[in-house]
């Protein structure tokens, strides 16, 4: 297993790209490509990844890069892999699609590639809305979140639907490897990318990538927020290898979801009723993933801790 110290220093995704300060997607892409190495070909559909990574005629990638339309990540990866195979080259073909390009628009194409079990690596960068076009709701947007298409009004406040369970949809294709990752757990992150690189067949990595303008938060807290998401159960770290599920990181005691929500402007309007509804959803998910057989359900919500990260001032500055 590679440790942080053994990662190569070379930047295959160069500096000077135009992502927002503190971008979680840029962080995840950089480190994924560090592990994957230079024998990699990259496909990125319409997303922030293509806007900040390549602006014709400039580009930040130092590996072969390809981009066409939004909805065909799976199909393109299949085609690229077939071409490399015909040429007799051993290349890791990897696609970085956003949550919009995976949950909604690219689902059929991804499903096709998964069904054929093509030898490609599909990476979903989940920032929980269509951020590139200015924050619209996607299938990955959590309950209660503000987006421009789920605004906060007098009667309805934020998104009314819960986050789609993409993991189970992907795993249902009986693929060799599916894993969820978070940049807040570096060793787990590196290990899963490395593992996915060395498995043959359709592999799916699901990365949790905070978006600074979309989540309305302080750029310095990108990593902190992913850690909190895992501690509260909003995001779970596990892998499914040939149908066998394994939890790779189990948080100690369940933290109240409110701590996580109050770090971000997109949740700050939420009423106690809505927070409880989301907490119930998280509890259900928590028990599904972490509960051992026969033990009672866990849903003890400790009173929320006094939270220092978001001051009154900060709240005023960044709005509701």
């Amino acid at each position: 297993m590679i440790t942080i110290k053994e990662l190569p220093d070379e930047n295959l995704f160069t500096a000077g790209h135009t992502a927002c300060p503190g971008c979680g997607v840029a962080m995840s892409i950089r480190n994924a490509i560090r592990v994957l190495g230079k024998d990699t070909a990259v496909y990125v559909p319409a997303s922030c990844g293509v806007v900040f990574g390549t602006t014709f005629p400039y580009g930040a990638w130092k590996v072969p890069f390809f981009h066409t339309a939004f909805e065909n990540t799976g199909a393109c990866l299949t085609g690229m892999q077939a071409a490399f195979e015909k040429k007799g080259k051993k290349v890791t073909v990897v696609g970085f699609a956003g949550d919009g390009g995976t949950y909604d628009i690219g689902l059929q194409s991804m499903s096709g590639a998964a069904e054929r079990n093509d030898d490609v690596l599909y990476i979903c960068l989940d920032n929980e809305a269509y951020m590139n076009t200015g924050i619209q709701r996607s299938g990955g947007t959590p309950f209660g979140a503000w987006t421009t298409t789920t605004p906060v009004g007098k009667h309805i406040q934020g998104n009314r639907r819960f986050k789609k369970n993409l993991g189970d949809i992907v795993v249902a294709h009986e693929i060799p490897y599916y894993a969820t990752l978070s940049i807040g757990q570096p060793l787990d992150f590196i290990r899963k990318v490395e593992k996915a690189k060395n498995i043959r067949g359709f592999r799916f990595l699901h990365m949790f990538t905070p978006c600074i303008p979309g989540w309305k938060m302080d750029p310095a807290r990108t990593v902190e927020v992913t850690k909190r998401a895992v501690e509260s159960g909003m995001w779970t770290l596990y892998e499914v290898e040939n149908g066998e599920k394994r939890i790779t990181y189990k948080p100690g005691k369940m933290k109240s979801v409110k701590d996580y929500l109050m770090m971000q402007g997109r949740f700050r309007h939420m009423s106690d009723e809505d927070i409880n509804a989301l907490q119930m959803w998280v509890c259900k998910k928590w028990n599904l993933h972490y509960k051992e057989k026969g033990s009672p359900d866990i849903c003890e919500i400790a009173p929320p801790e006094e939270h220092h990260a978001v001051t009154e001032e900060h709240r005023e500055m960044h709005g509701p």
Partner: protein
């Protein structure tokens, strides 16, 4: 938002006004434009403003790359957010200029580097098109409505402070700003299917890895300073940096930060387990 607030203040004084932004990338750090037209008569023109009476520059790092006064009328005025005095600013021609250190005012009063309300105060002082009182009124209303009463008042205070601190003078006109070179291939030179291999043109690098020539340090309000004594070389900052500004010097076992590419997000300082990194103002 500042353009709209200004238009609203003008309307409240009995004038006609329109305000609209330039449609562009929905991303932080990208240069953006917004326009406001104010008249005592009804306004029918709906186009962008090409020859303004006043140019407001919210970030003085733009002065190095863009000829901001190219369309400005000869008797017009440029309002610039800068710590310099007008006579120390070189705009390529001698022109009426007003400066104010809006970023310091914003950091002091709003505790964030958001300068749009402060610069409106400077605009009022420099042009006299709107009164500072009506500007304060419309800031309080517009920002108060959206972000809470307290924030509205604080933004109004920022505008008032900037109004009082604005210096009006003439700019220098020494430097010749060349338009940024662009790679403009003919249709024969254009690669098939838009595919590009690494190349060098008169306008600089193109193709894979060419973003390395794009210096983004101008985005930063803060930059990290590392304390070598405290550092335990855990490499977390190197791992987390979204820009790749931190390099390892393998033979010395040390780290080096290239500030040319640092956008000042502060992730490194926040994640450092021994608090060896602190953020300091980038340009004071």
């Amino acid at each position: 938002m500042a353009a709209q607030t200004l238009a609203e203040a003008a309307v409240n004084e009995g004038n006609y006004a329109v305000a609209f932004p330039f449609f562009g990338a929905e991303r932080r750090g990208a240069p953006v434009l917004a326009f406001t037209r104010i008249d005592s008569k009804k306004i029918f023109s709906k186009t962008q403003v090409y020859n303004p009476d006043c140019v407001v520059v919210l970030d003085d790092s733009l002065l190095d790359t863009i000829d901001v006064v190219s369309g400005l009328k000869p008797e017009g005025i440029a309002v610039i957010n800068s710590k310099e005095r007008p006579e120390d600013i070189d705009l390529g021609k001698i022109i009426n200029t007003a400066t104010v250190n809006a970023i310091s005012i914003a950091l002091e009063i709003l505790k964030a580097p958001i300068t749009n309300t402060a610069i409106l105060g400077a605009f009022a002082k420099a042009t006299g098109v709107v009164k500072i009182e009506s500007l304060e009124e419309s800031i309080k209303r517009k920002f108060g409505e959206k972000l809470g009463e307290k924030t509205g008042e604080r933004n109004a205070l920022a505008a008032r402070t900037a109004y009082e601190k604005t210096i009006i003078g003439k700019s220098r006109g020494i430097k010749k700003l060349e338009a940024r070179k662009q790679w403009l291939p003919t249709y024969q030179e254009m690669p098939v299917g838009g595919s590009l291999i690494e190349g060098k043109t008169d306008a600089g690098l193109i193709g894979p890895g060419s973003f390395i020539e794009n210096k983004v340090s101008g985005w930063a309000t803060y930059r990290p300073l590392r304390d070598r004594e405290k550092c335990v070389m855990c490499l977390l900052c190197w791992f987390y940096c979204p820009e790749g500004t931190i390099h390892r010097i393998s033979n010395r076992g040390d780290l080096m930060t290239n500030y040319d590419y640092c956008k000042g997000c502060g992730v490194c300082a926040n994640e450092c387990p021994v608090d060896a990194i602190k953020m300091v103002r980038a340009r004071v």
